[in-house]
Amino acid sequence: MTPHRVMFWQIENVWIFYVLAGLATGLFLAGVVAYVTVWKKSSGSLEIPFSKEALKRMTLDVFLGRRVLQGDIAAGLMHLLIFWGFLSLFIGTSLLAIHHYIFTFLEGTAHLIFSFGLEVGGLMLLIGIIWALIRRYLQRVPRLERRLEDAVVPLWLLLAAFSGFILEGLRLTVEQPPWGVWSFVGWRLSGLFSPAGAECLYPYLWWGHTVLCLGFIAVIPYTKLFHIMGAPAGIYLQGASKPTVPAMEEDAGEFDLGDAIFFDGCMRCGRCVEACPSTGAGEPFAPRDFVQAMRQALWQEHFPLGDIRFMGRKEENKMDENLWYCTTCRACLEVCPVYGAAFEVVSKKRVLAVEEGTQIPKLMNQTLEKLFKYNNPWESSKRKRGAWADGLELIDLTKRGAEADLCYFAGCTTSFDDSAQVIARSFSKVLQIAGVNFGILGKKEPCCGDIARRVGELGLFEEQREGSEELFDKYGITEVATSSPHCFHTFKNEYPETSFRARHYTQILRALMADGKLRFKKGMEATVTYHDPCYLGRHNRIFDEPREIIRAIPGISLTEMNHYRADSLCCGGGGGRMWQDLQGEVKMSEVRIREAEATGAEILITACPLCLIMLEDARKAVGLKEPFRVMDLNELVLQALIKLKIEY
């Protein structure tokens, strides 16, 4: 007798099964239609651009679980077990249906391999789910929530898988087929039952198992299980849609298809909560909660019956206030399995808040007024811009006939803040020593628009962008070096087309080093640590240049903090936070300065005026005394160069 499986063994009234299956499929499809309706209503269009790379990335991420493995191997393995277990059982059941209805092929060796494969799949699923439950309820991993559906969903799946194995055991007890050992789990279990009892119990359990499995399919769109479809869709769309250049369009603050699918693909894994520096400092903002609130708001607005997730709960509606805590540091996007940019969603909501006008925190309201009136956020006089350059004898590119190879764009904060001016002065001296022919824009230097953009004042951003572009055009500037990663990012990524190339000073220094124009000699001996500014590192992937420069200085040794490179913490100054007085339990900058202190380094190096100010203030606030210092990279470089000059 060839190995095979008897279909609907011991089951009567099989038609009921077909009715139930039809019902489950119907519920499932109705749910999916509801999603598509909401997506269409909230974003206006369902247009999906085709992208081969995005498709490839989605496939790899989904089947290899790369994004879930990243940064949390335990979670990744657990997810892989559930994913592959579930998938192999799903494929197995589909094959069985083909075998039964279309053409018979699961016989003989094929059946044995099939049986063995399903055993492995079922076992993986069981282990994965038990592991998941342990992580959430025994190990109590902090980033995981414990809502009702977080228990119901895995228990449901656990029961379905477990009842499947018992069912198989009962069947094998009665049938005792010679090939039974291939179903190794069921075969083991079969010893536990008496043949008569098994035969009697089997149909009841079969119907139970069937209801569980069909119900599971039906419930997918109505629980967080929807991520099975939402997550791949989200991953694809995040990769396929072109980054939008913000403009003063009517729909600037509206959500698009990518946002809507991101909200529905989010399954509250909480990686963003763990990574968010704002949450970490005990502030009331958490990316996951924000995204969930946005999701619920979309459903309430666009679906007649409200939120489709029946085990959901009312999300907190303090988002209008919490909106302003985000520093747009991008840490959430680094870890999000579906590449959801919660900080971009925050920016969009800010656009709406700015248009509306009454929900803006007082200090931010004043900052925006100043930003417009004085073209800088510091309420400083235009006449004082460029004052940092007094005595340095720099070329003013706005003067008649002035020309230079490079335009150094100091930026508002570096120009006006007493403690940040050191960046401009030391960078200029470094350029002079390296023999670079460069100039500045003096009093005419504009604001790049970073703050307006981050805070959602897109009209002002547009004006500032146009003003800057005109100025660069007028003076024929083609090469720009910035002190601030924020200006650099804005020029590089948010000015649609520019006649100039913008680089951050770390890139310039690195290039000068490669050309042999910066030669360091052994100066001071010190251990330093480096703080990655968000808009240099995470946003623009410049992690290596500053480190290469630091390592090239003799006598300086670099040690890293707990959080570094893409995992770096935020100083708390970006996204307009520098000009607000929102409070958490601690300051982000103080969390960071403690990390720097813990490395045992004497100097904390950074490469951004906002970071420099925030971290230096934090150093004073927590009372870290000399010799611990906060320095800009330019200061360190200049010290090493001046030594060189003296030694000559």
Binding site: G357, T358, K362, Q366, K373, Y374, E379, S381, G459
Partner: protein, 263 residues
Amino acid sequence: MTEIRIIVCAKQIPDPEAPLSDVSVDAEKMEVIVDAPQVISPFDENALEAAVRLKEEGGGKISVLSLGKKVSDTVLRKTLAAGADELILLEDDNFENLDSHSTAAALAGAIRKIGEYDLVLTGRQAGDWDSGQVGLILGEMLTVPCINLARDISVEDGSVVVKKSVPEGYERVKAQMPALITVSNEVGELRYISRTKMLKMMRGARSIPSWSAEDLGVAPEALQKMGITALSSPPDMGRDCQVIEGSPDEQAEKLAAVFQGLR
């Protein structure tokens, strides 16, 4: 309740929060020169915010008056973007540098010309000279009840109820309308007007009426200029920061010595 008619008086001044480096004093010409953008006086913005909120709650119409020798509609159009229905500029060469009494007289002329109104709101004082007189004199000239230093305004059938700031807290004062109220900053800042909104308001083909002294029925001879008897530059505010080093005991000793030296 019938919709109320509110008149807000808004003065255009150089930004009172301008950095000190933009402010200079010409002692000979008796002039304070402020090289800063023109803005609406902050307390007048508070008054406008109070008006807009009243309109949002119970409906109504807001007219904004702004008086001066030359008033910039690019500055004052902000009031329209914020929710005012009408902006009237009171411009006349004779309106330059008026004293409080004459300013109130000119404003009273404009308000009489408008005719019907329920509330006149002004800032508690102007952000440039901080006299705080025009509002109250205006109330007197219009012969309407007058409440100053409002921190909260509500309207209840024909009356206005105002929480008025006093040193120990606030008083709740009720008056028949029409009434004049001077508004304090506790009311809240004027809502933010986005640049997009502002630009739309600028581009809008909206003619802003301008009334002269003659239109208001104010005789130029009746207008008094503000006279300054003396004006001098502020003393040099240069700071000399000295850091005292040493152990706490040594620091205390040195600090005490510094104080003794100053005596």
